[in-house]
Symmetry: C2
Subunit: 145 residues, 2 copies
Amino acid sequence: MTSLEKELFEELLDKHHLKKTAPRLKVLSLLSKKEVATSQPDLESVLNDVDRVTLYRILIAFEEKGIIHKVFDLDGTANYAMCSPVCGDEHHHHDEHLHFNCTVCKSVYCLDDLHLPEIKLPKGFKVDGFTLYAAGLCPKCNKPA
Amino acid sequence: MTSLEKELFEELLDKHHLKKTAPRLKVLSLLSKKEVATSQPDLESVLNDVDRVTLYRILIAFEEKGIIHKVFDLDGTANYAMCSPVCGDEHHHHDEHLHFNCTVCKSVYCLDDLHLPEIKLPKGFKVDGFTLYAAGLCPKCNKPA
DNA sequence: TTAAGTGCAAAATCTTTGCAAATGT
DNA sequence: ACATTTGCAAAGATTTTGCACTTAA
């Protein structure tokens, strides 16, 4: 973790009135490094010096504050990813992103900036937001053999 | 369960080489009655004479055969719904449906027949199928007070 | 100093597995 | 009769809760 990154993370924690503790910085560092969403078990195995319970609590806190968000992969396991660089305020959650599930490597990509076309629902439904899941092959697994 | 329904369910089970047992018929009857997807805990509480383990196994078997499908609500809990009337063959799963999550009553509607507009992904991704989630108010909860 | 956060132990849940008894074909 | 399917008991895994100790502010 570069010192620049560290500053960024500390700023982020400050902004949300969270203390800048080692476990939290580790989680942020890890998630921000990855372009894909990471499952709780995966995080756990990498952060093996952080207590499992602490990890749970960090993830919950981060999600509440809008620092990270949860997406579910095809098996229904929760994966966590940073909210796009500076979406992070608690009220404005733009959920209009695409989550891409790779069927081979199981990675979950959050393709945040993508315009969804207008979609019309049957009468009576009032839509607050969309989330689109796509399944298929990610660039890495789509390489010709 | 009318005798007509019963016939239908038995036929369905036959088609998939599953025995027509009481627990299975109950699950089918329950799910087919509901327009919305039902969570495993909900099913469990209604089918209180069916063992929890049996329910797990029935749901797994039905899903494998393509009789029902799983959708995840906003909290990540799995909800089960009948596959649309006669989609039920194991190979052709048209996943192009919209799952609507009501934020008030938590119901999950499967709006199967809905055309999704074309969506373009970044280079390198190969898409097999889309699933669209929408959150908001369902017709019931959207009624003026 | 003190409120927030961590880590451990223990409870509560949820899910899976093994096997004998029951059931459908 | 035979292969499935069920129900129970027990193992395994996951998640939550309580509380004393530590740490950032």
